[in-house]
């Protein structure tokens, strides 16, 4: 089975995000960037499938600036076989990403696409589902377990009420949740090896897809700040305060 893994370059999850004073966005200058944490989990899952003999080839694809190549290299160092960078300096929305990925799928004919459930910058949680619709493929979103069974892909999903398992027929979309696996750190020899793995350089125009944004940003602001309250001495004081505040 051939697996496609889209990986997004995002602000590192440990960075404290700062809103720009002109309210046009958040400050990304000199900020540490990393692979979206959910995408590390997708790559890990694909690599484990390869190690288990169910996956034969893993292709990592990223849509983003030149530096997104580093994100692809990280995937290659974890065990992906080759990469595709669709290079653009524009901000591509999930709909545009899904359309580009649909074209990559048409060229590469993977049996499964594993995406993150959400990118931690836009928090959209859309791209995988959109890709599923564009391809007419079934989806198993928010996966905490993925396995092949009776010729179908069984995906256990983290849903509001607990866990739900669905069976998907034919080529499928999986979007991963945090508990699916624990991503590995790439070893030094594997990082060296990854430097020799091929990355195809592409541009959105190569795919003939219109990626013009549909949303325009009016402003980006700081959330209302919450004032730190007070420290209380002990439990009786806490109970007293809560009573006065009408909370209990």
């Amino acid at each position: 089975m051939k697996v496609l893994v889209p990986v997004k370059r995002v602000i590192d999850y440990n960075v404290k995000v700062r809103v720009k004073s002109d309210q046009t966005g958040v400050d990304l200058a000199n900020v540490k960037m990393s692979m979206n944490p959910f995408d590390e989990i997708s790559v890990e899952e694909a690599v484990r499938m390869k190690e288990a003999g169910t996956a034969t080839e893993i292709v990592a694809v990223s849509i983003g600036p030149q530096q997104a190549q580093e994100t692809i290299r990280t995937a290659l160092a974890m065990g992906a076989d080759r990469g595709i960078l669709i290079k653009t300096d524009e901000n591509v929305e999930p709909l545009g990403v899904a359309k580009l990925l649909a074209k990559v799928v048409a060229e590469e004919s993977p049996d499964m696409v594993i995406l993150g459930k959400q990118a931690i910058d836009d928090d959209s949680n859309q791209t995988g589902q959109m890709l599923g619709a564009l391809l007419g493929w079934p989806q198993g979103t928010f996966a905490s377990e993925v396995k092949a069974e009776d010729g179908k892909i069984h995906v256990t999903r983290e849903v509001d009420g607990g866990l739900q398992t669905v069976a998907l027929e034919g080529p499928s979309i999986v979007t991963v949740d945090l508990r699916l696996n624990e991503p590995r750190y790439a070893s030094l020899p594997n990082i060296m090896k990854a430097k020799k793995k091929p990355i195809d350089m592409k541009a959105p125009e190569d795919y003939g897809v219109d990626i013009a944004p549909r949303l325009s940003v009016v402003k980006v602001t700081e959330p209302p700040v919450r004032e730190a309250g007070e420290k209380v001495e002990d439990v009786p004081t806490l109970v007293e305060k809560l009573k006065t505040a009408g909370a209990i």
Binding site: I120, D123, G161, G162, S216, K219, R226, P236, V239
Partner: protein, 309 residues
């Protein structure tokens, strides 16, 4: 102008999130209809008809809709969208699973997890785990929106909309429900509860989590939540997770026990009215958002608090 709202339910009861989504749909404007897709969900359709300000309820019944899987929901909703200017769904796992498929097929960019509406094209939504708030306008002809429940009050009841049956495509679809593990509990639902008690990694085990957090929650009539660390370690089920990638809550009272206050956790609870934090580290970031912070060992403080209530 007309808006279709997808109802979130379990075939027996309508979730609170649906009535909140109706409020958002009303703020958007136009006639509001609710789609109840399910199997044997007549009671849910009847309940939806009672939500204030609803024009009509569309009721689709079929085995394929029992679990509202995305592929069947897409087949059902896409043709209905000919008659609507917007599709609204609660930002529950159901809504998040279904709506992007419709958006892609309509060739529109979805607005996820909105917390405000400022006119028919302008929406407000958090990004970067709520560390920034973005206002955007959409140039798409139809809007597809998921709604964050904590940002809208539930629409009242007292309506008596007509319930209309709609044809539900029967499939087969490429996805099939196999099984589920539903966490059963008599407690209030996490996202709808007036009070929430959440436990973190510091609890140390499932036994201690249950021994300390549950009685406190019982005393307060609270729902139980957890940090990701506590869920990952198996102290609490996955659907207890509060945060950027778990549930978003904004109760009257949120009690964080042995939780450090990582930004991903704060993203899910910092809009709570009163926040209490119990943590032995006085530098823990949770104290920066807490109204009342108690620097103490939770293993002493929690039983004492439970007894005092």
């Amino acid at each position: 102008m007309a808006v279709l709202v997808i109802a979130d339910h379990d075939n027996a009861a309508l979730s609170d999130a649906t009535a909140k989504t109706v409020t958002a749909a009303k703020a958007f404007g136009g006639d509001v209809d609710i789609l109840v897709a399910g199997e044997g969900a007549g009671d849910v359709a009847a309940a939806a008809a009672q939500i204030d300000g609803v024009r009509k309820v569309l009721h689709a019944d079929g085995a394929a809709y029992k679990k509202q899987l995305a592929e069947a929901m897409e087949a059902l909703i896409l043709p209905l969208m000919n008659g609507y200017d917007a599709l609204f769904a609660p930002a529950t796992t159901m809504g998040k699973n279904v709506t992007p498929r419709i958006a892609a097929k309509l060739d529109v960019m979805q607005l996820s997890d909105i917390v405000g509406i400022e006119g028919q094209d302008t929406f407000v939504r958090p990004i970067y785990a709520g560390n920034a708030i973005m206002t955007v306008t959409s140039s798409d002809a139809k809007k597809v929106v998921t709604v964050r429940g904590t940002a809208f009050d539930a629409a009242g009841s007292g309506g008596s909309a007509a319930v209309e049956t709609v044809d539900a495509p029967g499939g087969p679809f490429k996805s099939e429900f196999v099984s589920e593990e539903v966490v059963k509990s008599d407690r209030p639902e996490l996202t709808a509860a007036k009070s929430v008690v959440s436990g973190g990694r510091a609890l140390g085990s499932e036994e201690e989590f249950n021994r300390l957090i549950i009685p406190l929650a019982d005393k307060l009539g609270a729902a139980v939540g957890a940090s990701r660390a506590a869920v990952d370690a198996g102290y609490a089920p996955n659907d207890y997770q509060v945060g950027q990638t778990g549930k978003i809550v904004a109760p009257e009272l949120y009690v964080a026990v042995g939780i450090s206050g990582a930004i991903q956790h704060l993203a899910g609870m910092k809009d709570s009215k009163i926040i209490v934090a119990i943590n032995k580290d006085e530098e823990a970031p949770i104290f920066q958002v807490a109204d009342y912070g108690l620097v103490a060992d939770l293993f002493n403080a929690v039983p004492e608090l439970t007894d005092a209530l």
